[in-house]
Amino acid sequence: MDKLKSPRTGGLLILMAIIAVLPAFLDNAFQVEIAILIFFNAIVCIGLNLLIGYAGQISLGHGAFVGLGAYGSAILTAHQGWDPLLSMVAAATFTGVLCFVIARPILKLKGHYLAMATLGMGIIISIVINTEDQLTGGPDGMYVDGLSFMTSQIHWYWLIGAVLVFSVWASLNLIHSPIGRALRAVHGSEVAAEVVGVDTTQYKVLIFVVSGVFASVVGSLGVYYSNFVTPDIAGFFHSIELVVMVVFGGMASTFGAVVGAAILTILPQVLTFLHDFEHLVFGLILMLTMIFLPKGLVPTLADLFKKGDKS
């Protein structure tokens, strides 16, 4: 019984329950589409949160890794005729190796410098995708066949929902392990972590690779779902959007990443009635959140509940 009450197991069960009953409340294909989009964003944010929230390393280039996954899969399937699953694994491996190679020099930097380096890396990848038009179709994007066995949209809902639950579960496992503590120690004090035996560079590289692979897998799944990909996916604005979701939902909170992704995916849809003022209101909501909930939505609410328990 105690296990059910722990935020870890309890949160996971609540998430599964929401995913299970949600389709009953979705009236049309558009709403299902938004739900799937939320799942996609949430999975990237879970990986990104391991890097930003737990290990304390910023990345302003994660859209590029989603793009690598998407284009890697698209190119291998459409041009080379590879099996989609195999293409996805190949794209994820490529992204992982790329992350590994660039992580060491990049993660030596701190703060603004790290932000600039990841930003630059993202822009380079985005430019390559835009200009290699024989391979990628350039700014027009490219078309890919979907998965033959996924015949309806609701199949996708269940598949990506399951991947999301798995990601949350794995992320929680990782955090509640010696590796997770080492990551948080890197955030807390690198020098103190080193003198008790934590190879901080190794852990920063590890989590950079893990978060890159999360992003790549989402990119691959996304391209099979929508059958189409454009370079926007690897662009600067997508990267920023992902970081904002993590920060808004709450740093160092896996469920925060999911909630942040959900709210910031839905919000622009809800605000469309404001037409020209949409972005203004969107920005205002973000600013107010950062001023009044600096720790992010979920951790702030969790603190409130904790205080409520004590009194």
Binding site: H176, P178, R184, G188, V191, E194, V198, A252
Partner: protein, 251 residues
């Protein structure tokens, strides 16, 4: 056999020789103190020994192995740990989690085992929590176990750093001003903890300004001034050395 041997160690920071051709040895199983006026190079020396800085010239031998230029985590794996003059607490974690990071080297750190939450990881963590609770008990902080470190008092955090260092099961523990900023009562508590650590057979190297404490608990004292060795010996010998008196009082 000496545990730690420092030979002709120097480090230059933009023309300033913070440590200047320093040689000394540390024997196992004693309390050693390093004292000296402000700016004598005590903390710099700690940073050189523990791999935070790389020396300009000179060598450090640990258990007869040349470890000059080794990284801190490599030294930790060989049984060397330390605390810091300016607190280096993981403020994003609870007290017990801080100590459990200290046990990092003695836990299963396999990525896939952690990712899939295998029972060995959970079992290891449960056992680790028990031993770390004992360590918190050892430094008198058991009641703080699940407290967030950002709401703990300064004196408790000083002792938490010692517990965290002990969790790495060191053979040699370097304490950088463990009593700095503490009131006399807290200072005495630290005193007791250090003695108990030495009784466990851990070699303690202490940098401290509290002379009463240093004279009382040290088996051996090394005096630094301007990065050089002024003298070394027992508390009695050091206390009566005219150079030491001159360095501290001016003259």
């Amino acid at each position: 056999m000496s545990l730690l041997k420092v030979d002709n160690l120097s480090i230059v920071f933009g023309g300033v020789k913070a440590i200047d051709d320093l040689s000394f040895t540390i024997e196992p199983g004693k309390i050693h103190s390093i004292i000296g006026p402000n700016g004598a190079g005590k903390t710099t020396l700690f940073n050189l020994i523990t791999g935070v800085y790389t020396p300009t010239t000179g060598t450090v031998l640990y258990e007869n192995e040349g470890v000059t230029g080794f990284k801190s985590y490599e030294l930790a794996a060989r049984g060397m740990s330390r605390t810091f003059q300016n607190l280096q607490i993981f403020f994003n974690m609870t007290a017990i989690e801080n100590v459990m990071v200290g046990a990092h080297l003695h836990l299963n750190r396999g990525f896939f085992a952690s990712f899939f939450g295998l029972p060995t990881i959970k079992e290891g963590d449960r056992h680790c929590r028990e031993t770390c609770l004992e360590l918190l008990d050892f430094v008198g902080l058991r009641h703080y176990a699940d407290t967030d470190t950002d709401s703990m008092p300064y004196g408790a955090l000083k002792r938490l750093e010692i517990a965290r260092a002990l969790a790495s099961k060191p053979k040699i523990l370097l304490l950088d001003e463990p009593a700095a900023g503490l009131n006399p009562a807290e200072s005495r508590e630290i005193d007791e903890v250090i003695k108990k650590v030495a009784e466990r057979g851990i070699t303690v190297v202490l940098v401290e300004h509290d002379m009463k404490m240093v004279m009382e608990i040290s088996d051996h004292i090394l005096v630094l001034d301007y990065g050089r060795k002024l003298t070394e010996g027992t508390a009695q010998e050091v206390r009566n050395n005219p150079d030491v008196i001159a360095a501290y009082l001016g003259g």
